[in-house]
Amino acid sequence: MWDYSDKVKEYFFNPRNAGALADANAVGEVGSLSCGDALKLMLKVNPETDIIEDAKFQTFGCGSAIASSSALTELIIGKTIAEARTLTNQDIANFLDGLPPEKMHCSVMGQEALTAAVAAYTGETLEEDDHEEGALICKCFGVDAGMIERAIRTNKLTTLEMVTFYTKAGGGCNSCREPLEELLADTNKEMVAEGLIKAEEAYIFGAAPQPVKKKAQGFVIPDQPPTPMAPPQPSAPVQIAMPVVAAAAPAAAPVAAPAAAPAPAPAAAPAMSAAKEVIIAAKIIEEMRPVFHRDGGDVELVDMEGSLILVNLTGACSGCQIASLTLGGLQTKITEALGRPVRVMPVAKT
């Protein structure tokens, strides 16, 4: 079952303003039986002041659709038509302490009914909305197939990375990768048939590079699609920056002290426990040095950043196959001593 907030449950089980409004002078109707969602919003607007004096709803739909409709009426009663115009579906969702991503369309339906009712009151005409949504693809950001397909077509997207940049889909846990690949490949195929893109530009299912193994850091999905972005380059997958390796060498420079005299790393200085951890790690490395000496090499602590322990290998150990094995032993010992998982990584000393 859905993880509904208490407020959604409250507004479903005890909906406010449900039923018909006899003296309504503005009515908005959206949805349909075939969609499984429909809402009739009835407003009583004071023609003198433009204030919405009363609002009622009738909804065909699931729990969150009924709760969203009820929340909508609560939000707009007492507001002027001008104020009501500024209401967004996010306001409805926020009022209910959030909705599951699959259920955000319920709040959209509320906002659309309001737009329709306001239009009925002011006599405006509404643009037709085909309202194709399709299955929800990306659960992390609540992006459905219809929206992704529109983004692919409008912007002629041909790589997965660009789809993520434009729609956010796939930018979270990435478990929607396969359906996303299928959708991109299918849409591109249609676009080739329609002459919108060239066949060699089209994305072929299964053509994407494997996801990067290491955890991406500092990679933020933009909130808004970057509209002025240059046209996508078919064969240029976006390489996610990996600060882990890149940062290692420069960070090593200031603390290139020999492990024999364990100087606390600058980052660890203020917190006592972090400094203590460095001392412990250095002590273990010191104890292990004879093992490395036996093989004609040496090891020293360079730096410690979070769970990363950077060491410098010299002599026979550097580049030696055994080194990774020995470092594994070092890693286990330090992990045990600190009581949290760490990773020992050899870096070049500059």
Partner: protein
């Protein structure tokens, strides 16, 4: 008052309560006889003996001629995937699959994949408004290009039963293998595979009070086979991976218990189900029972309530301590209502409001009374809120939304 009453569980087609006797049978195999059945020592051989007993119990439940026709798997989905893929691989030159439009996703989404990515031609046979297979369409689709026919024994949503033994004979006339997804049928209706021409059958333990995470594939002796999983020699080299011994032993116990009382249980469930359906239809207008009234599972009642949406009904039922399920779109997160009800051409007005009550042998008269007591108010309350409803009844014409 609702807090003091025990919950009513009527979602047994989703999963069932594991019988306490089953749990009891399983427990020693976690901590005492925990050996690997493949091992030579006593720990292993004792487990091996218990596994043989369990296999025999399941053999009796499905009426297989030989116990080695049973391959234990991780569940119905794995059995289905194994069966279809194997059938395609062992028959080069045959690249077509016949199935129905109302199968479980374990078959349908596999077929979609095979069609799209592996050059397999898939025929999806339609059903009529009661969920019965279009036999003429099936005959027309059969040819010597068909590698495998896969029809479910009983439908999970409506309980409608397909005449699988006859369908298997038709498949064999064209040299095609026949597989049936019997996940909902095993344990609920008598099955005697040795008297049929069915080549492969999938079943799942947790649908008849066994543990989850275990199923089996029945593979008729002499049927050519390619394993899905490769590795060790378990299950005579047909399904690699250490046997899930406690679960298999639990399944064996559940099979024994189910078989022992099946005839009585079936009669009692049928009576309860009929009383439930009749009570709902009599008390509540604008609703109807789906499925084939003459041939369906004894435990399944799917009633479609017009002009309201299923999830809302389920939430209200849950509040009243009653667990059921729905073919509604909103419970699954997609926007389309149940593919089964749509294939039966049930109108959208009702498909969205379809509620499935699935009974077990533990369901009581009191459970049915509870449902009958709360449903009229739940339905009328939601209908009052529906724009498609007015005091004098349904009025879908009176509502003209901006888009459709």
């Amino acid at each position: 008052m609702k807090d003091t009453l025990p919950p009513v569980y009527l979602d047994n087609n989703a999963t069932t309560r594991v019988f306490p006797e089953v749990v009891e049978a399983m427990l020693p195999y976690f901590t005492e006889q925990f050996g690997n059945a493949s091992s030579i020592h006593a720990f292993g051989s004792e487990v091996g003996g218990a596994l043989r007993q369990a296999r025999k119990s399941l053999q009796r439940l499905i009426g297989a001629e030989f116990d080695h026709e049973i391959i234990f798997t991780s569940g119905g989905t794995e059995s289905n995937n194994t069966a279809i893929r194997s059938a395609l691989q062992v028959q080069p030159g045959r690249n077509e699959v016949i199935t129905s439009m109302v199968e479980h996703p374990a078959i349908l989404s596999l077929c979609d994949w095979l069609e799209k990515h592996e050059d397999v031609v898939v025929h999806r046979i339609p059903v009529d408004s009661q969920g019965r297979l279009d036999i003429d369409a099936y005959r027309a689709a059969l040819s010597d290009k068909v590698a495998v026919v896969s029809f479910m024994w009983a439908n999970n949503e409506t309980g409608t039963i397909f005449p699988v033994d006859g369908l298997a004979e038709l498949a064999h006339e064209h040299g095609a293998l026949f597989h049936t997804d019997a996940v909902q049928a095993v344990g609920k209706v008598p099955i005697d595979l040795k008297t049929t021409e069915i080549d492969m059958l999938s079943l799942s333990s947790h649908k008849f009070h066994g543990p989850k995470g275990l199923g089996a594939l029945y593979l008729r002796k002499g049927t050519r086979f390619r394993p899905l999983m490769r590795g060790g020699h378990q299950e005579r080299g047909r399904r690699a991976g250490t046997e899930n011994a406690p679960a298999i032993i639990g399944l064996g116990r559940a099979a024994d218990m189910t078989l022992a009382t099946m005839a009585d249980d079936s009669a009692r469930m049928t009576a309860l189900r009929d009383r439930l359906e009749q009570g709902l239809v009599q008390q509540i207008g604008h609703c109807f029972v789906t499925g084939d009234p003459r041939d369906r599972l004894p435990n399944t009642a799917t009633v479609a309530f017009e002009f309201i949406e299923g999830e809302a009904i389920l939430l209200k039922l849950n509040q009243a301590g009653i667990a059921a399920s729905s073919g509604s779109a909103c419970t699954s997160g997609s926007l389309e209502p149940s593919h089964v009800l749509r294939a039966m051409d049930i109108p959208f007005t009702a498909a969205h409001g379809a509620i499935r009550f699935s009974l077990s042998r533990e369901t009581t008269d009191a459970d049915v009374d509870r449902v009958l007591a709360v449903m009229p108010e739940i339905i009328s309350g939601l209908r009052e809120m529906s724009p498609f409803w007015s005091d004098d009844g349904a009025k879908p014409e009176g509502f003209n939304p901006e888009y459709a």
